[in-house]
């Protein structure tokens, strides 16, 4: 019908509006990029928001050192194409400098350590706004977070003291040392992301599609066998056809059994799925009912 925008185009316009507000009102924004599908979509939206200008902010990857090779290669290629400046904040360096201590044991993960690395990098580069790819449909605490989410000088989020956010009027005011996390994809769902990737022909790393991989079962999830995980005695590796629904730290991101090897098959699978992507594949969110809220309060993504 005339003068109607599809839901994807309406969501796209909203995200572009948010990105332009940030570029106009902040001095040193940064876009957090993990190589995951959400941050890939964000990068595409940023490209659209400022074309034909180059991105008016750098891209930062908080690197746990536990990466999927495909994702790192993809990151470098994409940043190169856009002519963007890449900042890598390394968890390994935070460990080496004694800022954080590596967890030990078979279930050691660097997930929680990322927060310190991220906050240190924000402070070091004096970033005053950081774009994140979080969506409200991912998790209960996220469902209540603002698009412009204020962080105090410790990087903390205070869920009970959030600024009201009305219309499309965003309040980015802050003092030196404080910053704003900005979530342009707040209103997108997992299915929207996939449909947008399909409609736009956005390229994503191959691990999002079905492939054969050596995995083992832990807490009902399939984790990849690799250099960053230690198998317990009762954990048996086996080969399976899997794909990833989220891409995070390789030591705590699970794969799902799937034969979806094309985008259309992935969309059909996502549309029919009955389990949230975080519930299915993220050990980090399973710690407690409020695991995400607790990490976010500390300054997590």
């Amino acid at each position: 019908m005339h003068y109607e925008l599809s839901h994807l185009r309406a969501l796209e316009a909203e995200a572009i509006h948010i990105m332009r507000e940030v570029a106009a009102e902040f001095e040193r924004p940064v876009l957090l990029f993990s190589g995951g599908k959400d941050s890939i979509v964000m990068l595409r939206l940023a490209e659209k928001a400022f074309w034909p200008c180059p991105l008016p902010f750098p891209v930062m990857h908080v690197d746990t050192g536990h990466n999927f090779d495909e994702v790192l290669a993809f990151r470098d290629q994409r940043v190169d194409e856009l002519g963007a400046r890449l900042v890598v904040a390394s968890v390994q360096e935070s460990i080496d400098r004694g800022r954080v201590r590596e967890e030990t044991g078979p279930r050691a993960s660097r997930n929680r350590l990322q927060t310190t690395t991220l906050l240190d990098a924000i402070e070091e580069h004096e970033f005053d706004a950081a774009f994140g790819g979080a969506r409200r449909d991912e998790e209960k605490a996220r469902a209540k977070e603002r698009v412009f989410s204020f962080r105090d000088e410790f990087g903390q989020w205070d869920p009970k003291n959030q600024r009201p956010e009305l219309w499309s009027l965003y309040n980015g005011r802050h003092r030196k040392g404080e910053h704003i996390r900005v979530f342009p994809l707040s209103n997108w769902t997992e299915l929207d992301i996939w449909q947008y990737i399909a409609e736009e022909g956005v390229e994503i790393p191959s691990i999002y599609y079905a492939h054969r991989r050596e995995v083992f079962r832990r807490d009902g999830m399939l984790l990849a066998v690799g250099p960053y995980v230690t198998l317990a005695d009762d954990e048996e590796p086996f080969e399976a056809v899997v794909r990833y629904r989220t891409v995070g730290d390789a030591s705590c991101t699970g794969a799902v059994e799937s034969s979806a090897d094309t985008i259309d098959k992935v969309i059909a699978e996502v549309a029919a799925t009955r389990i949230t992507e975080r519930g299915a594949t993220r050990a980090d969110d399973r710690v407690s009912e409020a695991a995400m809220e607790d990490r976010k309060r500390e300054g997590y993504f």
């Binding site: 019908m1 003068y3 109607e4 925008l5 599809s6 839901h7 185009r9 309406a10 969501l11 796209e12 316009a13 909203e14 572009i16 509006h17 332009r20 507000e21 570029a23 106009a24 659209k48 928001a49 400022f50 074309w51 034909p52 200008c53 409200r136 449909d137 998790e139 209960k140 605490a141 996220r142 469902a143 209540k144 869920p159 009970k160 959030q162 600024r163 009201p164 009305l166 219309w167 499309s168 009027l169 309040n171 005011r173 802050h174 003092r175 707040s186 209103n187 769902t189 299915l191 929207d192 799925t273 009955r274 389990i275 949230t276 519930g279 299915a280 009912e289 409020a290 809220e293 607790d294």
Partner: protein, 418 residues
């Protein structure tokens, strides 16, 4: 597929959570792991029912205290539409949240318990929906099963609400008798109420016509960001980036830029995917003009024969949102309107509105948290605005406390100060 934003408000008792839970569950937007987590928590608390409110009450404090303290956003889709629900608690102390949720909504859902009829809260929700100019309001008379699906009960509530609504500004009003618990008239039409001739709630949400709610008449393009690549390939490119806030803009249109008053013509409307033939709300585009005139962020592009009001003295209805400060004449605040940021002085408070009785208290000399009133403001620079009822984007602003940087007020412009 079109996007519909709906706002719901209410407390646990009126069955709102059950209704939302049912819409989400029946449209497969609740996932098994979410439902299991809720079932587990309900069991741990010793409840003998599954409390669907736990699906939306995500914060630790909310779960511990069994209350909802903030706007929660939920998403579901049917083959026809995608829906965003802004779900807010209904108590009077949460007017602020309700206003927030209502600010972007196309449709408001107000629930009434068939046994109790209209209560103070239902009137308050309806009033806020009309104040924020939500174009469509649906009054769901819930728990019809508990009144024997009696048509008379439904008709009585309908009549009472119509009488109340006559004092409000509601463009489109729909009444649906439902039982959220049993699913009557939620997704499918109920066999228990053959006397009801309307559609089910979900069917209404899928079909209600929202395309013409936008202002497609008055061209309003607040300039957000100037794109000047200065690269070899785009040497002289100068695009004004922004989001259409009203009207339909086409290449070849004569325009005027405010505040300068310079006129020009639209050369091209650009996106990365190529130029477009026309732009309308809420498209985010880049406008190129035939002449090189000086335009920057905060300026407004419109048609020469159809300009917004321009001025430094405006009257507005303001909802005060601060817990720690009050709004009183003499206060100076930062004001953000479209892409323009100015400072504002509160010249006058005309009245405070009792949101339950709609009574205007003209002796009031301040607004405190969750209070609504009419004020006169004087701004440091002119605003280019429309009456809020004519344009929700160019008619709205937020007030920010310059000392704390908190957002403390939401304003809906009535017009120039008289």
């Amino acid at each position: 597929m079109e996007l519909l934003r709906l706002a719901t408000a209410g407390s646990v008792d009126d069955g709102k959570s059950t209704l939302i839970g049912r819409l989400l569950y029946d449209s497969k937007a609740i996932f098994e792991d979410q439902l299991e987590a809720v079932e587990r928590t309900s069991r741990q608390r010793g409840d003998d029912y599954v409390d669907l409110a736990l699906l939306t009450d995500g914060l630790r404090a909310e779960r511990e205290q069994g209350i909802t303290i903030d706007v929660a956003y939920r998403y579901f889709a049917t083959p026809k539409r995608k829906f965003i629900i802004a779900d807010t608690p209904g108590h009077i102390q949460y007017t602020r949240n309700m206003v927030t949720g209502a600010s972007t909504a196309n449709l408001a859902l107000v629930l009434v318990d068939a046994r109790n009829g209209l209560v103070e809260q239902s009137r308050r929700h309806a009033f806020i929906a009309s104040l924020l100019r939500i174009p469509h309001l649906v009054l769901c008379v819930n728990k019809m099963d508990l009144v024997g699906y009696d048509q008379d009960v439904f008709e009585a509530i309908k009549a009472e609400f119509r009488e109340f609504a006559a004092r409000l500004d509601i463009a489109d009003l729909t009444f649906i008798p439902i039982s959220a618990l049993h699913g009557d008239n939620v997704v499918d039409r109920s066999a228990n109420m053959p006397w009801y001739e309307g559609t089910s709630l979900l069917h209404h949400l899928e079909e209600v016509h929202i395309a013409s709610d936008r202002n497609l008449i008055d061209v309003r393009f607040p300039v957000q960001y100037v794109l000047r690549p200065k690269s070899d390939e785009h040497h002289d490119y100068r695009g004004y980036a922004g989001t259409m806030a009203g009207g339909v803009l086409k290449p070849g249109d004569d325009i005027v830029a405010l505040p300068s008053g310079f006129t020009s013509r639209v050369a091209r409307i650009d996106t990365i995917d190529g130029p477009v033939d026309e732009a309308y709300g809420p498209m985010a585009v880049s406008v190129l003009l035939e002449d090189d005139i000086d335009i920057s962020r905060g300026d407004m592009i419109c048609r020469p024969q159809n300009r917004p009001e321009t001025g430094q003295d405006v009257d507005a209805t303001v909802c005060w949102m601060s817990e720690s400060s009050i709004l009183a004449p003499g206060a100076k605040l930062a004001l953000k309107h479209t892409t323009r940021s100015v400072r504002a002085l509160v010249k006058d408070l005309h009245y405070r509105l009792d949101i339950n009785t709609l009574h205007r208290d003209e002796d009031a000399n301040e607004l405190t948290l969750n209070e609504i009133g009419r004020v006169s403001l004087r701004t440091t620079a002119p605003l280019f605005y429309d009456e809020y009822r004519r344009n929700r984007t160019t008619g709205s602003f937020i007030l920010v406390d310059e000392a704390t940087n908190e957002t403390v007020g939401a304003g809906m412009i009535l017009g120039p100060t008289t």
